[in-house]
């Protein structure tokens, strides 16, 4: 063991004269990380080069297929971005990963299914889609906001002063609990949102690209929510208080800000965004189940890290980047390497992005915004 040998008394002689082996100085970890980085760059570079060659020789994807993939990636990424906002805001304020945030998203999606299914049976879904969409959105946002507020109140508030990993473990428990509670409530099978009305789901031209209406709707709603959130955080008094709490809880309290209330608001706003994302997920992919929250949750967390935790614009951008990477990545990089069944590896790509980003750029592409104590 390296520690044993390095603990020998070295005496008054300056240490710099002593040559240490690689293993004592931990340089080998750096070397290992460099190797990982090079391998990752090498694989991506090789795959991409091969892809370009294939495109050039005309045996690759058609440009239309590629464009469709990118659009699908953006639509999915917008949802990741919306979920990522919740992670990012909570991490910014409390400095802990709310692992159960994916389940908040899932609860929104499930609530959306219950309401839309009911409306579909009433006929309102067909006759007046806009109204029913608004109803569905309202209920979903309400449910997921309530879920986060309850979560904060019951599970996280008592632990605010405990060691860092304790709330994380708790949130894993909350996530597990919520998943299985929903499994018990609605059963294991995947539930389908009713189909969108014909006039909406048909393809239409938009900025020169043929787009499905559903994706347009998803992008539109995501954009509106994001703009609303931006306005809320940057332009309202509560938003200002929120930023103050994220910067320094104690000083904020001294300034007369009710920290508890701001923290609840933060959770609630994150939950509301996740609720919107839940409905959009249902509209786009239609099938939702108790497991819907897990993977998007993890991926949204990745998106939050890519964009820089605590950075709201960054989270949205991170979502879009991850969505596109995940949708295009397998075909762009893995397929040219001759790996079969690449669509199965979609999640492997997403997790690899997660690992690589956390390893090499944990502060994100656009910079973290954390309070001083959390930056450690």
């Amino acid at each position: 063991m390296a520690a044993t040998t390095s603990a020998k008394p070295t005496g008054p002689t300056p240490v710099k004269n002593k040559k240490k082996s690689v293993f004592q100085t931990n340089n080998w970890v750096d070397i290992f990380l460099t190797v990982v980085r090079l391998v990752a760059i090498g694989i991506i570079g090789l795959g991409f080069t091969l892809f370009v060659i294939q495109q050039a020789t005309g045996e690759g994807l058609s440009s239309e297929a590629l464009r469709n993939l990118i659009v699908a990636g953006i639509a999915q990424g917008a949802m990741y971005g919306l979920i990522a906002l919740g992670y990012s805001m909570v991490y910014g304020v409390l400095g802990f990963i709310n692992f159960a945030h994916g389940e908040v998203f899932m609860s929104g999606a499930i609530a959306g299914w219950i309401v839309s299914d009911t409306l579909f049976k009433n006929g309102l879904w067909e006759s007046n889609f806009i109204v029913s969409l608004l109803i569905v959105l309202t209920v979903s946002v309400f449910v997921s906001t309530a879920a986060t507020i309850l979560m904060e109140r019951i599970a996280y508030r008592p632990l605010r002063e405990s060691p860092r990993l304790i709330p994380l473990i708790t949130s894993i428990g909350v996530s597990f609990f919520m998943q299985n509670a929903v499994l018990g409530l609605i059963g294991p099978s995947s539930k389908n949102f009713p189909a969108l009305p014909e006039w909406l789901s048909k393809k239409r031209g938009f900025l020169g690209i043929e787009l499905e209406g559903t994706k347009l709707l998803v992008l539109f709603v995501a954009f509106v929510s994001m703009a609303g959130l931006w306005f809320f955080v940057e332009r309202t008094k509560t938003g200002k208080a929120m930023r103050a709490v994220a910067e320094d809880k104690e000083i904020a309290a001294l300034m007369g800000i009710n920290v508890d209330r701001i923290i609840i608001t933060t959770f609630a706003v994150g939950g509301a965004m996740a609720g919107v994302a839940g409905v959009l997920w249902g509209l786009l992919f239609r099938g939702v189940s108790f497991l819907t929250g897990f993977l998007p949750g993890i991926k949204a967390f990745t998106a939050a890290v890519i964009g820089g935790v605590g950075n709201l614009g960054g989270s949205m951008a991170g979502g879009l980047i991850l969505g596109v990477a995940e949708s295009v990545g397998p075909l762009l990089i893995l397929e040219p390497l001759g790996i079969p069944g690449v669509s199965q590896l979609k999640d492997v790509v997403a997790f690899s992005v997660l690992v690589l980003v956390l390893l090499f750029k944990p502060s994100g592409l656009f910079g973290e915004r954390l309070s001083a104590e959390d930056r450690a």
Partner: protein
């Protein structure tokens, strides 16, 4: 625990004031009642009540489902009537007021359930919520129809809540005896399979037939007798346990060692002899528990000792299983495919389990280093997520078509032979043999982890967990030290994986989902992080009673709900007892430092209180506990 608290508070009451029965914190009781009602409705809607109703505990009066549902007002009443007394404050005298507080909570809870029953009766939402069923209505109205049922629910809530509150009123001694009696009766009912099996093994099947009903469940009269015996024994031997303990503590160190050794020998002999008398089911259960003890001991090194939250721990279990399957199965896919592997390793014969084991362990250690090295410097929460990512990547790769020629994809690897001893083969068909095999490895794991605990490495882990920067300043190489924890954890998990492969005979990617990691995490946390007996106990209780991810436990009816319970348990433990059931002394101190300081301050003592005094004081609530939450503070010494 409550008994000691009450004792001390009684003793300290200097100016007793009798309060009137209406001196109740009405709002608090009503709030608790509301929570009770919602809990009962929730348990009904997730299907637990009806699902567990199939299992009879006490024939024919009490099923597991009813036990769950009826325990809610009982516990709620108890909570509603509970008051927290700080050290040095006068304890209130318990009386009619507490019964009223409990009854109010129970009644409000009953009212919530009654409202739910009206809705259940009026609307049909079964299409959306599968458990919105007549069976539930039937159960919650005690089979009496809605009208009578609602009255019954209210009455039952009121009465049980009052009883729950009344628990505080009973003097400490009868309360203790009563609780012991109830615990024993419920244990006898829950452990029916084991006891039946054990009695059968010793040729006492007739006794089992007398105690248990034919369709399962304890009979009433034997139940009463068991309770009475338990209470009598508890009464007769009260304080004997503590006496023995002090006797043991006062022994000379050498004698102490001797006694511990004798105890160990008795345990080992029991471990060898007992399974001979046990049947297949219980042995199967024990070997599953053993596999999880191995995993939990491994994770305990990683989380409990070194403080690294690894939630992709299942990856090492998967690597152990797959590597064993890869080397020992004659039908391993890579042998038949014409890839590089079969070209290079085609000469490799189908290995014996024991020959393959060192290779498996080595592979797991290498994977441990490969996963550990990059993550070791990350901050704790990111590390957790990255390990999760690695765990999922490994599972998805095993599942993918890409590596299917090597690992079989979704089909997995089949026909893995058992452990060939030359004269016999250990495989899943003989759970007793598997148990012995597991037990040997568990013994190794216990030995290794207890040796590591006191070694230089173990102390380095502890130092890192307490404060990494300080540990580094003291000359500990934190990177290699943490990496060692990772590797030790990986090796223990690979043992478990190797045995698992031989036991089950085939490995599939979906045996290695994230939930396995989480279940192991729950086992470690419930048992007591960083404490070997605690972790083992956690595995026995949770895996034995509730069951593992795909292994049924004693309460097979739970299989649908065990994950729900695991999740709730994890949250509950983190909130109320983060140090676990059998805590590790150092970790306990760490988590309850504030409380210990506060106690010392309240008592007007210097921090150096002697151990006995602290023990006498019993658990004292922290400031956080005072605002009405459960104060299961735990010992502070």
């Amino acid at each position: 625990m409550t008994a000691t608290a009450a004792n001390t508070s009684d003793a300290m009451a200097s100016a007793p004031g009798v309060r009137s029965a209406t001196d109740v914190d009405w709002r608090r009781s009503a709030n608790i009642g509301g929570i009770l009602g919602i809990t009962a409705v929730f348990i009904g809607l997730v299907g637990m009540a009806v699902g567990l109703d199939k299992r009879m505990l006490i024939d024919p009066v009490l099923s597991l489902g009813y036990l769950f549902v009826l325990a809610i007002p009982l516990i709620g009443g108890w909570i509603a009537a509970r008051e927290i007394t700080l050290e040095g404050m006068t304890a209130p005298i318990k009386g009619a007021r507490d019964i009223v507080a409990g009854a109010v909570a129970g009644l409000v809870g009953g009212a919530v359930v009654a409202m739910f029953l009206v809705m259940l009766n009026a609307w049909d939402l079964q299409e959306l919520l599968p458990n919105w069923s007549d069976a539930l209505l039937d159960m919650y109205t005690f089979g009496q129809g809605v009208g009578v049922g609602i009255v019954l629910v209210l009455v039952v809530g009121l009465v049980l809540g009052a009883i729950g509150g009344a628990v505080h009123v009973i003097p400490a001694k009868p309360r203790r005896l009563l609780s012991i009696a109830v615990q024993w009766v419920i244990s006898f009912a829950v452990l029916e399979a084991v006891i039946d099996d054990l009695l059968g093994g010793f040729g006492l099947q007739a006794v089992a037939d007398v105690i248990y009903a034919r369709r399962g469940g304890l009979l009433i009269i034997p139940g009463l007798i068991i309770g009475a015996i338990a209470a009598f024994v508890a009464h007769r031997f009260e304080g004997k346990g503590a006496e023995l303990k002090t006797q043991y503590m006062e022994l000379e160190p050498e004698r102490k060692n001797q006694v511990s050794k004798q105890g160990l020998i008795i345990m080992v002999v029991l471990g060898i002899v007992l399974p001979i008398f046990l049947g297949k089911i219980v042995n199967e259960l024990l070997s599953n528990v053993g596999l999880f003890i191995l995993l939990a001991l491994g994770l305990n090194v990683v989380i409990g000792r070194a403080g690294i939250l690894d939630i992709g721990y299942v990856a090492f279990f998967a690597v152990g299983s797959y590597m064993m399957a890869f080397l020992t199965s004659p039908l391993a896919p890579w042998r038949e495919s014409d890839g590089i592997l079969s070209a290079v390793f085609g000469w490799l014969p189908v290995l014996n389990w024991f020959v393959a084991l060192p290779i498996v362990v080595l592979t797991a250690a290498i994977v441990g280093v490969l996963i550990g090295t990059p993550v070791i410097r990350m901050r704790g929460d990111y590390l957790a997520i990255v390990t999760l990512g690695f765990g999922e990547i490994i599972r998805l790769l095993f599942l993918s078509d890409w590596l299917a020629p090597t690992f079989g994809g979704a089909q997995g690897i089949r026909s893995i032979p058992g452990v060939n001893l030359g004269f016999a083969e250990i495989n899943g068909t003989d759970p007793r043999a598997v148990f012995y095999l597991v037990a040997i490895f568990v013994a190794i794991a216990i030995y290794v982890s207890s040796q590591l605990e006191t070694s230089r490495l173990g102390r380095a882990w502890m130092a890192i967990r307490e404060d990494e920067s300080v540990a580094e300043a003291m000359g500990i190489n934190t990177v290699t030290t943490k990496l060692f924890a990772f590797v030790v954890g990986a090796i223990l998990a690979s043992f478990s994986g190797a045995i698992f492969a031989a036991k089950v005979g085939s490995v599939f990617p979906n045996s290695f989902e994230l939930l396995v990691s989480i279940i192991i995490l729950v086992v470690v946390i419930v048992g007591g992080m960083g404490n070997i007996p605690g972790v083992m106990m956690g595995a026995v209780v949770l895996i034995g009673v509730l069951g593992g991810p795909s292994q049924p436990g004693l309460l097979q009816e739970f299989s649908e709900f065990k994950l729900l319970i695991y999740g709730a348990l994890l949250v509950f433990m983190m909130l109320k007892k983060p140090e676990g059931l059998i805590p590790n002394a150092a970790r306990n101190r760490e988590l309850h430092q504030e409380e210990a300081l506060q106690d010392a301050w309240l008592k007007g003592d210097k921090p150096g209180t002697t151990k006995d005094e602290v023990d006498d004081a019993g658990p004292a609530p922290s400031a956080a506990d005072i605002d009405g939450s459960l104060g299961l503070g735990g010992a502070t010494s």
